[in-house]
Symmetry: none
Subunit: 253 residues, 2 copies
DNA sequence: ATTGTTTCTGAAAGATTTTGATGGTATTTT
DNA sequence: AAAATACCATCAAAATCTTTCAGAAACAAT
């Protein structure tokens, strides 16, 4: 009863999708292939972003039926590597607050399978994590913005007031020596409340954002604890960041 | 039993379409041709895009039976007609509060395109409506439940306290003369707060729910203003509903 | 009917990919 | 620290694919 390669992978994907998480041994049983083969299949499926490989098995991270995936589907290798770096900082059992945005979405994807408490105002992130059995998911309500699918406004701010987490993961539209910027007043307002809720602030961004401001001022540099960025960042900016007392992680690409 | 070329290829195509995946050896058997011939046929069919060649055989490349769509599109004609009836009651510009559930999701689908304000604690409904330009969408936050994707708990209840809408559309797990039931304590708790937020309560359900209770008691009958149900409902139950002063809409199927 | 031409078929050899196993390394648990 | 578990790199065997070629079948023209 030798299965075709694609058939087997499809079958694995379905199982993972269905159960949320499956152990490698279980998969060996259910599809009747060797450990090596399953490993290779998981590696492949992880490579194309359909599942998230975890120690001992795999978790589902495929695209749910939301409208946002198209954009994030072209998650560049860069973005993915940044996301990977951030995900590696998160320890099991932690409580994490996640802002909207394509990079943070990618982080969420990399978090699949970990045991965590996640709080978010982002619909795409919620979609991604809602069926992860290991993840306790709390949604921040508010007015939903069509373009980005994040909940903002008075309700969101109010809800955030009763939230306390270890880490906040946030993305920005621009960074100058004066601080961080984002594109939308309402967004900034909500994000400012997020700062209050978190012990540590991690900013994910790509190197092109440095030196550019944007419509709405978010916060001064010293609000941030940690910045994760690709290796396109200049030496000058590295200096600025470090002088501001911010930990800097540069991801090699 | 020598087959004509086109006939054979047609036959292969049918088999592949039917099974989704077929191995080369299987095809050799069922078509009665040599390995080489089948190979060449597959190559051809792949060339014209009718199938996808895979190692060891072929896969159907037509409409992707991509697990997701099928599930949510599996709404019966009944459900859809109920949903249509409810959607027709909603006037432009109204504010509507929508509970989770497959029937209410179908209602949401029918609401698309209308100019409305929608408040919901259901992730699927939010997904559906978030990109409708005519619809102002407000999301109720809370702990997200994996199976159903609805936000519940203290946060949800608190958020609902500052909501006021014209109509609430809600689904139930069971209806008896004593009132309405649902399957989950937390769900019921949240739904009870929803009653407070709405001027008028519309219940959508199918006729099989009458006479059955469920785990958690939701409310007495007189909390409800309007019930929409399929025509499987018995005359006795019609009487009960009407005597309770509830408007009843029976959808013909 | 016969011949020549073209297309299709089946078989075999050699190249490529996939697979399962093994032993060593890293990580987690006890 | 030791034991248990999971991971990774490597390799030979197995399965599958491609290429090639000669014979068979179909076809057209004489």
């Amino acid at each position: 009863m030798s299965m075709l390669l694609d058939e087997r992978r499809e079958s694995i994907l379905k199982i993972v999708e269905n159960k949320g998480f499956v152990s490698l041994v279980d998969l060996m049983d259910s599809v009747g292939a060797s450990e090596s083969t399953i490993r290779r299949d998981l590696e492949y499926l992880d490579g194309i972003g359909q599942i998230r490989r975890t120690r001992g098995g795999a978790a589902y991270s495929g695209e749910s039926l939301s409208t946002f995936e198209d954009r994030s589907f072209m998650s560049s290798r860069q973005k993915r590597q940044i996301a990977q770096a951030v995900a590696n900082m998160i320890s099991p059992g932690e409580a994490v607050l996640m802002d909207g945005g394509t990079t943070t979405l990618e982080v969420a994807r990399q978090l699949a399978g970990k045991q965590l408490q996640v709080v978010t105002n982002s619909l795409p992130i919620a979609n991604l994590l809602v069926n992860q059995p290991e993840i306790d998911l709390m949604l921040i309500g508010g007015f939903l913005f069509p373009k980005t699918g994040v909940a903002l406004g008075k309700t969101a701010v109010e809800s955030l007031k009763s939230v306390h987490v270890r880490r906040l993961i946030i993305s920005v539209g621009g960074i100058t020596e004066d601080g961080l910027y984002n594109s939308n007043m309402l967004l900034v307002e909500t994000e400012q409340q997020m700062f209050e809720a978190a012990e540590e602030v991690i900013v994910v961004t790509d190197s092109t954002k440095f030196g550019h401001s944007a419509l709405a001022y978010l916060c001064p540099l010293d609000t941030v604890d940690h910045i994760v960025v690709d290796d396109g960042i200049t030496e000058e900016w590295k200096d600025v960041i470090r002088k501001a007392g911010i930990e800097l992680t540069v991801v090699e690409t």
